[in-house]
């Protein structure tokens, strides 16, 4: 729960984010949060009612707007995911998501650097920016000066967990090793882009041109907190259809309903090269306000609504 002063600071962050995107030629869009079909993603549990879903992210609708001819779009919206509640999770949360045609994931990394530097420049009075040139949070003093570190997933597994990523994947230990042995080291001195995920963990990301076993996908980590997930969009309709078919089968084996999002598939081939990224807005506000958890960075936590 935010204080009146915290709410004003959160509002300043929202305003500065919008100013950044407008200055870079983006338009703001606001797509529906209630959808009849979701992208099949077995790691997410949506809220349902009357045969409809609350969106788990705005990705489906925003990519359809790219197909309509938009080139640069951003959105700040509420997303909903069941069974996610903790220091960095709320079942209803705010996402900042943006897309541009004709670019790839490396371009997005540069934009993340530019966005944080813009916030630091325009909002120097925020608690997280108490030390000029740095973001301070939870005993970390993080230099914001670009370029930030680019670290491949394979290298991170070797460096921090002393195992090969393929070994972890084969044993179903990828997530556990990442969370328990790697994440805590990431972004403590400067932000880190953890990049080039195994292709099987990048359901809507394009394979790397020079190494098809990894996806052009990255996660931005700041002070051990996973802040944003970006990738070069997979726009090969046949490959996307195959990957979704695999997810749908997984979902149905768990007894959950899932269908091929045909309207999305029809639009996908009209997009061409594009890149998109989702950033956890509440986590960003948490860092900038030096709040210990997202509970202190949002207007209400769900328990307070009872």
């Amino acid at each position: 729960m935010l204080t009146a002063n915290g709410l004003r600071q959160r509002s300043e962050v929202l305003q500065a984010i919008r100013a950044f995107f407008f200055a870079n030629g983006y338009i703001e869009v606001d797509t529906p949060v209630r959808l009849p079909v979701l992208l099949p993603e077995s790691h997410l549990i949506p809220f349902t009612g009357h045969g409809w879903f609350l969106q788990t992210s705005p990705e489906l609708c925003m990519k359809r707007l790219l197909a309509r001819g938009c080139t640069r779009i951003f959105q700040i919206c509420h997303c909903f995911r069941q069974e996610e509640s903790g220091r960095l999770h709320q079942p209803e949360f705010n996402m900042l998501e943006w897309y541009q045609r004709g670019e790839n994931y490396e371009y997005l990394m540069g934009q993340c650097e530019a966005l944080l530097c813009h916030l630091h420049r325009t909002l120097p009075h925020l608690p997280g920016f108490a030390s000029p040139g740095f973001l301070c949070w939870n005993n970390c003093r993080i230099s914001l000066t670009p370029p930030w570190e680019r670290l491949t997933v394979a290298e991170a597994f070797r460096r921090y967990a002393d195992v090969e990523v393929d070994w972890a994947l084969a044993r179903g230990l990828f997530d556990e090793i990442l969370v328990t042995r790697i994440e805590g080291h990431l972004g403590r001195d400067r932000p880190v882009f953890l990049c080039d995920y195994p292709i099987e963990l990048g359901s809507l990301a394009r394979g790397c041109r020079d190494n098809p076993t990894v996806a052009e996908r990255f996660e931005l980590y700041v002070a051990g907190v996973e802040l944003a997930n970006g990738f070069s969009e997979l726009v090969d309709v046949e490959e996307q259809r195959q990957r979704f078919a695999g997810e749908i089968e997984k979902l149905r084996m768990e007894g959950r309903e899932a269908v091929m999002p045909e309207a999305f598939m029809a639009d996908l081939e009209k997009i061409g090269a594009a890149a998109g990224i989702a950033l956890g807005l509440d986590r960003l506000v948490m860092l900038l306000l030096r709040s210990p958890s997202i509970s202190e960075a949002i207007p209400f936590i769900f328990e307070e609504l009872q």
Binding site: H43, E83, E84, S85, G86, Y197
Partner: protein, 187 residues
């Protein structure tokens, strides 16, 4: 049954037939990954601690735990005997099970005894207890040495710091969670 999404700090669960209390809890979910429930827990019988990571489909039994109000009767060797004042049933716990709680336990005190099934495994004391001071240096009025507390010993043998005006034979109230002096009690 509990599922992993019920896990939280303070929850009591049963693993391999023994009760555990969760002392630390963190929910993690890497991007595009599965939910992980990271816990640190303590065995409520042995006191052993360990950490474990669980996933969404993990399930846990509820331990059969019950608290009953009982009165402390007496200690013999290392056995501390308690009685249920309505059924007159008697049980005992060992000194090791009671640990630091022995600092505040006196005859006839009413406590909550925690049972796992029919086995007593723990007690909780009242938050505040009144104990008699058995050893204290006399208060020298006008003492200007600058110290504002002095050590005393109470009837259980426990030592603590109190204001200088507390004297031998006084009764004082102590917070059993912290072992600190609260006030002098007039009786």
């Amino acid at each position: 049954m509990y599922t992993a999404s019920d896990l939280r700090k303070g929850l009591k669960i049963q693993i391999d037939g023994e009760p555990y209390i969760i002392t630390e809890f963190d929910f993690s979910k890497p991007g595009k990954g599965q939910a992980l429930y990271r816990t640190k827990m303590r065995n409520m019988i042995t006191g052993n601690q360990f950490t474990q990571t669980y996933r969404s489909n993990d399930k846990f039994e509820r331990p059969n735990l019950e608290e009953r109000k009982m009165q402390f009767l007496y200690a013999q060797d290392d056995e501390y005997h308690f009685m249920d004042t309505t059924s007159y049933e008697q049980i005992y716990l060992t000194g090791e099970q009671l640990g630091d709680r022995l600092n505040f336990l006196i005859d006839n005190m009413e406590v909550q005894v925690l049972f796992f099934g029919d086995r007593p495994i723990d007690i909780s004391l009242p938050t505040f207890v009144n104990l008699e001071v058995t050893v204290a240096d006399p208060w020298v009025k006008g003492d200007t040495s600058g110290t504002d507390t002095k050590p005393v010993t109470v009837q259980t043998g426990f030592q603590l710091q109190v204001p200088p005006f507390v004297e031998q034979g006084d009764k004082i109230q102590i917070d059993t969670r912290t072992g600190t002096y609260i006030t002098r009690v007039k009786e």
